[in-house]
Amino acid sequence: MKNTQYIYQADQWDKPLQLDIEVRLVLLFGCKTFSQNNHCIEQVRAAFPNAEIIGCTSSGDIAGNCLYDESLIVTAIEFSTTKIRIAWRSVIGDDITNVCNELAAELPKDELKYALVLSDGHSINGSELVSALVAALPEQTILTGGLAGDGMRFKETTVWYNDKSEQGRVLVCGLYGEDLVIGHGTKGGWDPFGPVRTVTKSKANCLYQLDGKPALTLYKDYLGVYAEQLPASAMRFPLLLTDEKNNSTEVIRTILEINEAEESMMFAGDIPEGAKAQLMRANFDRLIDGAEMAAMQASAEINASQHSLVLLISCLGRRVVLNQRTEEELEAVVEELGTEHCYCGFYSYGEIAPLTYGEKSTLHNQTMTITIIAERNA
């Protein structure tokens, strides 16, 4: 396995693109501007004529232990034995379960070890997407990925597939091969605080009331002066949900949008009525520890080779809080896993991965989600 990374920023590449006909997969993460910049994409296509080019817009791009904005990170992957298969579909105006079934149907099930999902992060209910995909894909297939970002704007996200870049799209990249090894880890590092509240009014991923009071008012109270920066500032207080009807599973939800007229808030995943909710706050050290623990978890089950690709999908909420210190979590990951790997990724509107090994994938918020893709004997 061979990975080559290029960074495009301020109208120039960090190094000239080298033609490589062996590259089978190119990952693109970047600013929404590049979705309209065909020139850049054409250059990538020219350099890697035999590759499937996939990616999505972000709220910050990761290469190595650095964070980039207004950039495009290109990671060209040359697999030894691993085969890939891509499926992509629009979910606009269609039932998400149907879409997921169609996506899964396009991927041969045999030896489908891993599926990377990249999805529109704005117009899709992430929880529903993940549960539908999990249901449609083979049980042994590991599913990780993330929801595309749009900086702090929360306006429009797109998914790339070769020369196309469209909203409302879901892309699944299936990886096949005996040598393929996948490690994954997901950690948050947020601390719940304040009273435990009850979701008294909600619909799917839209929250109206907590303890019979408007949830938006509560957030505004807590955000104080930052209320003006809603919905982005609400990332500072993600919600810890405990659904007692569903085995008391704990999930963290971040806000995607607000509706002032309805005094409602839209989250990246479902907010079931009756669930217990508690505000969470950041603790810098714990967030950075969380990233480190995610790395440890991702590497725990595999014996990664030197040429592994490490895919980092972290939540925009972490970035909002860590601010200047955002790269510390990237450094913590690289320090844990070593500099010999190729690190790429992005800050997202939602992370997808199993919480631990053997579990089914779910949608996360406010986590650092790490996927290590490696090939044995490579």
Binding site: G194, P195, D221, G224, L279, N323, Q324
Partner: protein, 649 residues
């Protein structure tokens, strides 16, 4: 630039040259200071809000806690009250948990098990079951009764248990359900021992006579019905003996009802002694008893019957001493047999009753066996009863009159009115054939009144007949007339209606009537005497012939019974009796009337010994009114002729 960074630069940054690169660097540091400040402010703000929220929640929780304490207090009070309520109940109540342990029990429940509450609630389910089974009389039966409870937790049980301490409990058991959730079972046990005893007593009372404790009519009928079914099945035979005491009334009248009751108890004891096993003796009326004898074959039955009858009559052989007085009380009894005479309980008793009546008619102190002719007689009697009712309603009676003659002068001195029932076409029935029936039917006073009415009416007619205008007329009274309080009132009313000269009226009453209730008779006679009505004692010498009442009562005539007079020529004793009665009458200042004077010799004897009046066939038999009128006229002319002849002589 962040104020802190600006201050540091101002104080410590001497010599630092701010190049464009340095400015960018310082901007980053300033931004980091700002970020730290913002984070701190955000944290402080959050802490403050959280603190406020938590304080708010804490306040609410404190309020809720106060409320809960209030509820707890109320609940405790309620529980105490409920406990007291349960303890006040005489019903044993206990509640089981799922493990079959008693978790709640009231005082009566503790008393039921004869244990302390603390002891009971500490027992295991198994121990509790053992404790219960040790208490009940039939544990296996009890387990079978409560078995549905083990099959279905929702089963509701109700039943009765008898315990070893000879008590009966009624129990209810219902599941304790919290919604659909079964959380245990509650039992209530009510001591109904006294109720059961009371029920048994009431049932006993319903079937037994309170005075003698013998089975009553209801018991008799039911037993007889059962025995009939058994006898039919076993081809067995039975005899029903209806017993009625003769002259029991004497005891009640003489020594009082309490003594009469005691006498009945004594009789019961004596009758019980003659019973064999399986015989039934019941008391079905004041002095009426029924004896049921059972046998398997005819021969044996008759032998048994004979023996039973002998024993029965033997009970009454000797006189009884009640309150120091000696009474001869016998019994009349009738027997009916199953299946020959009847196959129904009531019919058997009815036929035995008929036979008993026959025994009474035949002179009492005997047992008569039912036969179909008796039934015919009874039917005849029923026919007669209906006829008699009809006769009274239609006044089908006529009066015949028998003259009473002054023995010395031969003058008509009075007439006795005698009733005849004219059934059809002039066919007459005499009083001895229907007066008894009328007395039994309670119609006698009405008949007496009819006689009086006719007498009053005829006397009115006789005013124009000189020979009868001033002749007194006598009417027979029944002893029962004295028992009828309304009767005397009616007599005066009738006389008032006809404006009847009551001094011309005589009432004849028998010694028996006098003897029944002397005081009452005295009162009635006193009232009659106030209206100048004359009183005669009829059939004197055949009854009790006590001198005391002759002295006590204001009477006018003594009538010597015709049996003595008719016997005068043949029987010296009769002569003596007649002479004595005349002497008594004369000595007491009474007018003596001799009945049954049939010959001149009788008349001569009576005249010789001072008897005042004669009545009999010598003078005239009882005759219809027209014949009486003719007789009176003839007698008068005869007497006038005699006077003329004497004058001529």
């Amino acid at each position: 630039m962040h104020s802190l960074l600006a201050r540091i630069l101002r104080k410590q940054g001497h010599g630092i040259k701010v190049t464009p690169e340095m400015a960018g660097f310082l901007d980053h540091i300033s931004e980091a200071f700002d970020q730290a400040d913002d984070d701190r402010k955000m944290l402080e703000h959050s802490l403050q809000l959280t603190s406020n929220e938590l304080n708010d929640i804490n306040g609410k929780l404190n309020n809720q806690l106060e409320q809960v304490k209030g509820f707890q207090h109320e609940t405790e009070n309620m529980l105490i009250k409920q406990k007291a309520l349960l303890d006040a109940s005489p019903e044993a109540m206990f509640s089981f948990n799922l493990a079959g342990e008693i978790v709640q029990i009231n005082q009566s429940g503790c008393d039921f098990f004869n244990k302390e509450e603390i002891e009971i609630v500490a027992m295991t389910g198994e121990d509790v079951l053992v404790m219960i089974l040790k208490k009940v009389l039939e544990p296996d039966e009890f387990l079978a009764k409560i078995n549905p409870m083990f099959n279905s937790k929702h089963a509701r049980l109700h039943g009765f248990i008898n315990t070893l301490d000879e008590k009966t409990y009624e129990y209810y058991s219902v599941p304790e359900l919290a919604g659909d959730r079964y959380i245990g079972r509650v039992w209530c046990c009510r001591d109904i021992t006294n109720i059961k005893r009371q029920e048994a007593l009431l049932k006993y009372r319903a079937y037994h006579d309170t005075l003698t404790d013998l089975p009553n009519r209801t018991f008799l009928i039911e037993t007889l019905e059962k025995n009939i079914i058994l006898s039919e099945r076993n081809k067995a035979r039975m005899a029903v003996i209806f017993i009625d005491l003769d002259d029991f009334k004497k005891i009640n009248d003489t020594v009082g009802h309490a003594a009469g009751d005691n006498f009945l108890k004594t009789i019961t004891i004596k009758l019980n002694r003659i019973l064999r096993k399986g015989d039934v003796l019941a008391r079905i009326g004041g002095d009426e008893f029924v004896l049921v004898l059972e046998s398997r074959n005819e021969g044996e039955l008759y032998e048994e019957f004979d023996t039973a009858v002998k024993r029965l009559l033997a009970v009454f052989q000797s006189p009884f001493i009640v309150k120091g007085k000696r009474f001869v009380v016998t019994c009349s009894a009738g027997m009916a047999r199953f299946p020959e005479d009847a196959k129904q309980a009531n019919e058997l008793i009815g036929k035995a009753d008929m036979a008993m009546y026959q025994a009474k008619r035949q002179g009492k102190n005997k047992v008569v066996m039912f036969d179909s002719s008796l039934e015919e007689n009874i039917q005849h009697r029923i026919y007669n009863e209906e006829k008699l009712h009809h006769a009274i309603k239609n006044k089908e009676f006529v009066l015949h009159y028998q003259p009473q003659i002054d023995i010395k002068t031969g003058n008509l001195i009075g007439v006795e009115a005698l009733i005849r029932w004219e059934i059809s076409h002039g066919e007459l029935i005499y009083p001895d054939q229907f007066i008894g029936l009328a007395e039994e039917m309670g119609l006698i006073s009405r008949i007496t009144e009819l006689v009086l009415e006719t007498v009053c009416e005829r006397r009115e007619a006789w005013r124009t007949i000189p020979t009868l205008a001033n002749v007194p007329i006598s009417i027979n009274l029944s002893a029962l007339d004295f028992n009828n309080d309304q009767f005397i009132q009616n007599v005066f009313e009738i006389m008032g209606t006809y404006n009847f000269d009551s001094s011309l009226l005589e009432f004849e009453l028998t010694e028996t009537a006098v003897f029944d209730d002397l005081e009452k008779v005295r009162n009635v006679l006193s009232k009659l005497k106030q209206h100048f009505v004359k009183i005669a004692i009829d059939d004197f010498g055949t009854g009790y012939s006590s001198f005391s009442y002759l002295q006590d009562l204001d009477i006018d005539y003594l009538k010597i019974d015709k049996s003595f007079v008719q016997d005068l020529q043949q029987n010296k004793r009769s002569v003596a009796i007649v002479k004595s009665i005349i002497d008594i009458g004369v000595n007491l200042g009474l007018t003596v009337i001799a009945e049954g004077v049939e010959t001149e010799e009788d008349a001569a004897f009576l005249k010789a010994h001072g008897c005042h009046i004669g009545q009999g066939y010598l003078y005239s038999k009882p005759v219809p009114e027209q014949q009486l009128i003719a007789y009176a006229a003839d007698l008068l002319s005869l007497l006038e002729c005699d006077i003329d002849n004497q004058a001529k002589r």
